[in-house]
């Protein structure tokens, strides 16, 4: 009180001129959901380093096979199984093919299968899960029981059967993944939609006369997008791994086209003598999977509405 006395000004005890502040001030931060998520993602060091790795691998897989003086199937029988050197950064294989080019060409194949093999089944899952959750009732029951039945056989068995039918290659792999990988996403999306459907903003929209399609596309799907993006990201390493596994057992990608799994397969045969032929593609698989997983973790944290404040 005392120290206030000294600082008083002459007009202190006059009323202020009517301040017009009725409802204009805003309470919260002005970031949109996506802007806020971006901010949090950018702050996550591990996720950003993982993202840099992913982008680097992607860029190199495009640039290197296009600019190198070797091609992935160019054989040089006079220079087989040579160790990594200046001329051949990753060495050559048992047919004298340059492994540097083959690894980066393989990255194209593996990443394509990984990314599309995750996106396409997720999209199918969103549609089926969305329909199931939104319309509910008997349709929902039928779809859910169907998923239960499909899921009680390991998906690898389906994939192998499909591959046997339609042959090997990139496109058949993606088709096989698309047909077998949507169930998990469908279940998740259905659960989310069931929750969202009862939210008041959906009811409000319904009361405004919105059609089912507009409810699904403008309210339900945008609100499930965050989780779906995370599940796609987390699905990529799974698809890469499955491709590698299938190629490894000789079902995935047909030679001479390399994929990481292919390369690892060929490398195993000579692992004892020329270990680099297995170690290089194996580490590529590991680094890529790890990067996608860590980036997916970061994305999940960034998009989780519970972590907002």
């Amino acid at each position: 009180m005392e120290d206030n006395m000294t600082t008083h000004e002459a007009n202190d005890f006059l009323f202020t001129v009517e301040a017009a502040i009725p409802h204009s001030q805003l309470a919260g931060s002005n970031l949109s959901y996506w802007a806020d998520a971006k901010r949090r993602l950018l702050k996550n060091k591990v996720a950003m380093i993982s993202l840099i790795f992913i982008l680097l691998i992607l860029a190199l897989s495009i640039v290197i096979p296009a600019t190198s003086s070797y091609t992935y199937d160019q054989q040089n029988l006079s220079n087989i199984n040579s160790a990594p050197s200046r001329a051949h950064l990753f060495g050559t294989d048992s047919l004298g093919r340059d492994l540097w080019v083959r690894v980066w060409y393989g990255a194209r194949v593996s990443l394509a299968v990984g990314i599309f093999g995750s996106i396409i089944p997720s999209l199918i899952g969103i549609v089926i899960g969305g329909i199931s959750g939104f319309f509910g009732g008997k349709l929902d029951m039928v779809i859910m029981r169907a998923i239960d039945i499909i899921m009680c056989v390991p998906s690898m068995i389906y994939v192998i059967l499909i591959m046997l039918f339609i042959g090997s290659g990139q496109i058949p792999l993606i088709i096989a993944f698309a047909l077998t990988g949507w169930m998990g996403t469908a279940r998740n999306v259905r659960g989310l939609v069931l929750q969202l459907k009862e939210r008041e903003f959906v009811l409000a929209s319904k009361a405004l006369g919105a059609s089912s399609a507009s409810l699904i596309f403008s309210h339900l799907i945008p609100n499930t997008l965050g989780i779906v993006i995370v599940s796609i990201t987390m699905g990529v390493p799974g698809a890469i791994f499955h491709e590698a596994y299938l190629s490894f057992i000789g079902l995935g990608i047909a030679p001479p086209i390399p994929s990481w799994g292919q390369l690892a397969n060929l490398g195993t045969a000579v692992f004892r003598i020329f270990p680099y032929q297995l170690l290089i593609p194996a580490s590529m698989i590991s680094i890529t999977m790890l990067s996608f997983n860590l980036f997916g973790d970061g994305l999940r944290d960034a998009l989780d509405p519970k972590l907002r404040n």
Binding site: N4, F13, L14, A19, H23, Q25
Partner: protein, 337 residues
Amino acid sequence: MSERILNIENLKVSFDTYAGEVEAVRGVSFHVNKGETLAIVGESGCGKSITVQSIMKLVPMPPGRLKEGTIEYLSTDITAYSDKKMQHLRGKEMSMIFQDPMTSLNPTMRIGQQILEGVKKHTGLKKKEAEEQIIRLLTDVGIPNPDKNMLRYPHMFSGGMRQRVMIAIALACNPKILFADEPTTALDVTTQAQILELMNALKEKFGTSIVLITHDLGIVARMADRVAVMYAGKIVETGSAHDIFYTPKHPYTFGLLKSLPSMDLSKETKLEIIPGTPASLINPPKGCSFADRCKYAMNVCNRLEPPENEISQGHAGSCWLLDERAPKVDLIKGEIL
């Protein structure tokens, strides 16, 4: 003069968030006498729950931070008490009940067992004696057939019954202070009436002091001996229930009382409102935090924080209108005298 059992001086609690420091409690002082009910009333976000949780040391730190102030319990300074030391106080000396009786009980444990936990920890009673004590407690809080009901799980009880169980747990060791954080907000009115009645009866019986946190002025009128009105992390007015309800001196207290549609207000009369929304606790205004919503704001209010002025014995307000140099204002008539 009654015995002071809790004394809080200039308590300041902040939270560190990415948006900056949230000054949740900004210099709160109050005391609790033995056997009285003190109501801390205010709107959401005014810091009333954080104040009490800081006293019980239930605020997670970090992100929370006790910046300043002292907490004295029975003339002992407990401000710097470790969690371990607090454990001896919590439950035995001071305990707390929360708004939501559904989430504050462990769903996988029989209620008798949940009460027993506290009793055993602080009293070291034998099993047989402890069981008798539990039955006595459940009878006290009005749960019928306590010997059977103590073996049941929380989900078998209604909301009101669960809150009774919570009260039984809180009172198990006969604490001196019971902090009740919006204890009836999740309940229906008729159940609320029963729980409030129970709290009053138990207060009489055990001489427990109650610190009641609520936003409902009706409940304050019903329960409180003394009232502290909080706004934007500060106590703006404190006094007996009579002082606060019949001769409020702070424009916020007055506005709050006026914004309730009283039982004799006709539809033709407009409700008096406090315009705007509460001040942000990130970078709070440097003057009075209520100034921008106040009908009587003066130039000084935007510049300097108002000091606490004593109005009468036990009744004090932090408002520049109470300064002798300020123009005299009749809050009821809304006139400047």
